[in-house]
Amino acid sequence: MDPRNPLLLLFLAIPALISLSFATSPSADDLVAELETLRAQSPSGVIHLDDRAVSRFLTSTPVPRPYSLIIFFDASQLRSKPDLHLTQLRSEFALVSSSFTDHHASSPAASLRVFFCDIEFQESQASFSLFGVTALPHVRYVGPHHHSPRDSESMDQSGFSRLAESMAEFVEAKTKLPVGPIVRPPPISPRQIAFLAVALLISAPFLIKRILEGDTMLHDRRFWMALAVFVYFFSVAGTMHNIIRKMPMFLQDRNDPDRLIFFYQGSGMQLGAEGFAVGFLYTIVGLIVAFATHVLVRLRNTTAQRGVMLVVMLVAFWAVKKVIHLDNWKTGYSVHAFWPTSWR
């Protein structure tokens, strides 16, 4: 699946080598045919370029070229950075590419002379400097009339948040060709759906019987209790904030990459792990109080009661103290009491 596998590189390298050995500039039709073969070899229709391919298809060809390229700039070493969303954007780019190919499958060849390509930073650093790309994510359009790669037009940074839709708009605006509807693969395949349906059909009679007998997990009071407490934990941990804002679980310290930051100072934002930690502290105290009032009282052994009470009170005290401390640290508020002036 990955276009950067060695087999594909081989395919890329061979035409380049052949062209070098002949040392004559190939005709425009040859280049188009070559690009079409490369596109056919990639499952999503995205051609992987390296420095040689760039020189072959872009810099050494006479202008106007009979084709235009849309290039996605990728870097495997930056894929681990969650805030760049490179992996996601790359797959969205492949979606646009395959949608475009599908849409134009039956149309004349001229409209198909738009090729989707990607370049990887580590293997083609020269090309990156040729284009003058310094920041990722980055998408470029190289039209038939662009002399040097630097002239090519880049996609607006703000568009990346809207993923494939804005990329398709960019392609449509530059090539004047419709991309067609973006076909996202369904989250589960038809075969899986069929399997699920069969499984459901087989289990349905048993399920209905259990429901009628009142013997499911849904009839268990403890299940609902756990669910209610979980929803509470989920909400007070600010998980919705993390989902909507797409917050990472933790950050890397900029000055010291080995250190991880779990707690963010400043009240407008929180990290994932931080939310869960505090949500846990919020919940644990309530559970302790409930435990002491409803379970511990039924215990017959007085010594055990005494011991458990001690532990439990210490834990609760620590949790409350920790949250107060963290809150003061995070928000910078200093909560203070108002005493009568004569008491001072």
């Binding site: 009839h219 929803v231 600010g238 002491a292 009032t293 009661q305 005494r306 001690l310």
Partner: protein, 788 residues
């Protein structure tokens, strides 16, 4: 038997005493709820706060002056010029009518209070009411002790204080009372099965519909609970009486409110209630049939009905889905949709996403707004499940839904607050119950015969009674808790049980109680810890009320090393407008200041805080982000005479127009595509210093904010953005400064009259005309202004 007759005397006396004490405590809770909200009046003055309250105040003034019929038909031509706004049909009238009738009542009692005073104190009065309603609701669920605790907690919960300090004259202030009271009446009907309470419930729901758009929460939560009861096999005639009248009467009454009208039957928010209404009738019918048929016949009838019923319901559901799917938003309003799909608003509706109270909260928000209640709620949830009654399942459902919604939108923390108070009240009172009982039952043993403290059998029941009498003063609260039980039925059973116990073996009940105690010293420490926790809550709430939530935001103060500074620039500017401009002049500003301008300056505005017309707001946003000449044309076409901008750069007031400017660009660009956000950003960063883009430095908002700013300190240092501004010396060509307030926070400009056509003069201001012409070119054939 003789023993029961003897114990009856003191116990009735004790109940009576407990009742009086309870009323006294409730009175004090009311005083507490009222007085904790007076910090704003004491620290500042008796003044209406913020933005929306000014509109409500203006409406109330109109109501008291012209009467209810004129109010109902009021068309306001002072706002949304030139469109105007039908006020009577677009406001929730509950708050206005409440304050208006309070004012009328006071005046007819010869207590001459001004309308403003009544408006300022409406919110604190209704907070006291809300505390009492919470007491009633919690009492129905878990008894008097829990009720009193919950009421105390609600009286000072910071989340509710933030919306109901004196002067914060907004819908939520009365709506929370209406919400809790409606829930109380629902539970009361559910527990008693009385039609009287069911009717009251519908009326209370009507009041809630009048007061706040949040009524949809009620009309979805109650059906959910009814459905839950049916599914778990708890259907009863009481449930039917609690639900059916509410839907019928409530929907009829709700459609009487002009702003709701046919929405009460046409929008998806209400469909859940109708669906459950059908279901409950089917279920009621089945129960009825089951009662009159023999089991065998019933089975036959069941299969018949189920087959026909399935076919019919399938058809109905298909039609229903088709109907709903035919509307673009699936029949849901944008705000409700963003609750179900939290990412909806940020994608499609910038005007909802731009409001700070629609953001999802982080964990410190919970600690700020419900404080230690966040710790106690899980205990309350568990207490509600042991044992689970109809009432306690309802409060659990209320808590779970509201806590989820609060996680999506920070403003819905307000709906969570009562639920959190009820849950914490239950948790605290159960905990106190256990711990005080442990002390009460074991303390006498230690005092009587220290050597064998653990041996219970040696203690006679008479000694027990004496001890409880002595203790009764100190622990009346916990006493009442153990006495009262969720519903009347349960209570009866409980009493019967107690009787049985007393009659059979008195020592048996003692033994049972003995089992449910904790060690004495551990209980004492636990009580101490709980009291410390409660003390922290009180300290936090008082601090929040005094420091965080009492600023009226119309008058600002700051403490510096040389003492207190008061910034009263807003009222200064509005007073200037009121006294120095013609009564029919139009004033343009960003929508935040629309309500204040109409209420305080009595001048016509273009847009205001009722953001009903996005295009109109976008027009103003476009004018603010256009260069001077284009902006002048837009404003002139809207008959605008004065432009008002809020500028905090001199004193460091952070929520000024420059900080809101990107939203103006975004909202303007949403309608007029020639305004593009990247033109105002340098490498994705918003800046106003020398690195700013030329579009930014030439737009109207920049110029009006920073005009002559360099004359203040010679360097033009902006104290909000903490930088020197990019363009310091420039002249205005199409606007002239007419008024700037003392601290430069509000600046008012007048549009210059159109010039005579002299060719030479028009070319003089080079830079601005250049950039504007280039803008013109780029805009090309796009529509720029709908008013031309």
């Amino acid at each position: 038997m003789a023993a029961t007759a003897e114990t009856k005397g003191p116990s009735t006396l004790r109940n009576a005493f407990g009742g009086v004490l309870g009323v006294f405590i409730l009175l004090l809770i009311g005083v507490l709820a009222f007085s904790i909200r007076l910090f704003s009046v004491i620290k500042y003055e008796s003044v209406i706060h913020e933005f929306d309250p000014y509109f409500n105040y203006r409406v109330t003034q109109y109501l008291t002056k012209n009467g209810i019929y004129d109010f109902w038909n009021w068309f306001d031509d002072r706002t949304w010029y030139p469109l105007g706004r039908v006020i009577g049909g677009t406001v929730y009238p509950g708050l206005t009518l409440t304050a208006g009738s309070m004012w009328w009542l006071l005046n007819s009692l010869n207590i001459p209070l001004s309308v403003e005073t009544v408006c300022v104190f409406t919110a604190p009065i209704f907070s006291a009411n809300a505390a009492w309603a919470t007491f009633l609701l919690t009492k129905e669920v878990k008894g008097t002790g829990a009720g009193l605790t919950a009421a105390v907690l609600l009286a000072m919960v910071p989340s509710y204080i933030s919306r109901s300090v004196a002067g914060s004259y907004d819908n939520e202030a009365v709506a929370i009372f209406a919400l809790v009271f409606t829930f109380y009446l629902y539970i009361k009907t559910l527990n008693t099965g009385s039609l009287f309470y069911a009717t009251l419930n519908a009326l209370s729901y009507f009041y809630m519909v009048c007061s706040w758009g949040g009524y949809t929460f009620i009309i979805n939560l109650i059906p959910m609970h009814v459905l839950l009861c049916i599914l778990t096999g708890r259907y009863s005639s009481r449930l039917y009486i609690a639900y059916a009248p509410l839907v019928v009467l409530g929907t009829l009454l709700a459609s009487l409110v002009p702003v709701v009208g046919f929405n009460a039957v046409m929008t998806s928010e209400h469909f859940a209630s109708f669906l459950v209404f059908i279901i409950i009738h089917v279920v009621a019918f089945i129960y009825y049939i089951k009662g009159i048929l023999s089991p065998k016949m019933f089975k036959v009838a069941m299969t018949l009905v189920v087959t026909i019923g399935l076919a019919v319901s399938c058809a109905v559901i298909a039609i229903f889905i088709a109907l709903v799917a035919s509307s673009p938003t699936k029949g849901w309003s944008g705000r409700s949709l963003s609750l179900l799909d939290p990412t909806y608003a940020s994608k499609y509706i910038p005007i909802i996403a731009s409001v700070s109270e629609h953001q999802p909260p982080t964990w410190p928000s919970y600690f700020m707004d419900i404080n230690v209640l966040a710790f106690l709620v899980p205990a309350g949830i568990i207490a509600c499940f042991l044992p689970l009654s109809d009432a306690s399942s309802f409060v659990v459902l209320y808590l779970v839904t509201s806590v989820y919604f609060s996680g999506v939108m920070v403003r819905l923390m307000l709906v969570l607050a009562p639920a959190a108070c009820i849950m914490s009240g239950i948790a605290l009172s159960e905990a106190f119950d256990v711990f005080t009982r442990s002390i009460k039952l074991q303390l006498p043993n230690i005092l009587d015969n220290p050597p064998d403290a653990g041996d219970m059998n040696s203690v006679s029941s008479i000694a027990q009674n004496d001890a409880s009498k002595i203790d009764s003063h100190a622990t009346t609260k916990s006493e009442t808790v153990s006495k009262e039980r969720p519903s009347r039925k349960n209570r009866k059973k409980e009493k019967e049980k107690e009787k049985e116990n007393v009659e059979k073996v008195p020592s048996h009940s003692e033994n049972k109680k003995r089992l449910l105690v904790l060690p004495l010293e551990a209980s004492a420490v636990a009580i101490l810890l709980l009291i410390v926790l409660g003390g922290f809550y009180v300290v936090h709430c008082v601090w929040a009320a005094a420091e965080a939530y009492s600023a009226p935001s119309i008058v600002l103060t700051s403490y510096a090393h040389d003492g207190l500074h008061v910034f009263d620039d807003f009222r200064e500017a509005y007073a200037w407008l009121r006294h120095n401009t013609d009564v029919d002049d139009k004033v343009a500003s960003w929508w935040d200041y629309g309500y204040q301008t109409t209420a305080m300056a009595n001048r016509t505005v273009i847009v205001d805080n009722n953001t009903w017309n996005n295009t109109h707001i976008a027009t103003v946003g476009t004018a603010m982000s256009s260069p001077e000449k284009a902006a002048w044309e837009i404003f002139n076409s809207l008959d605008v005479k004065y432009v008002l901008v809020v500028f905090g750069g001199l004193v460091g007031y952070p929520s000024d127009d420059i900080n809101k400017f990107l939203w103006m660009v975004r909202i303007g660009g949403g309608v007029f595509p020639h305004i593009r956000e990247p033109d105002y950003l340098r490498d994705g960063q918003y800046r106003i210093d020398a690195q700013a883009t030329p579009t930014m430095l030439n737009c109207l908002m920049y110029k009006l904010s920073y005009y002559r700013f360099v004359e203040t300190d010679g360097k033009a240092f902006d104290r909000v953005r903490r930088t020197e501004i990019g363009k310091k010396y420039f002249k205005l060509t199409h606007f002239e400064e007419v008024f700037t307030t003392h601290h430069w926070m509000v600046r008012i400009y007048k549009l210059k009259p159109p010039k005579n056509r002299i060719r030479g003069k028009l070319k003089k201001p080079k830079s601005s005309s250049k950039s504007s012409s280039s803008n013109h070119k780029r805009a090309g054939n796009t529509q720029k202004n709908p008013w031309q």
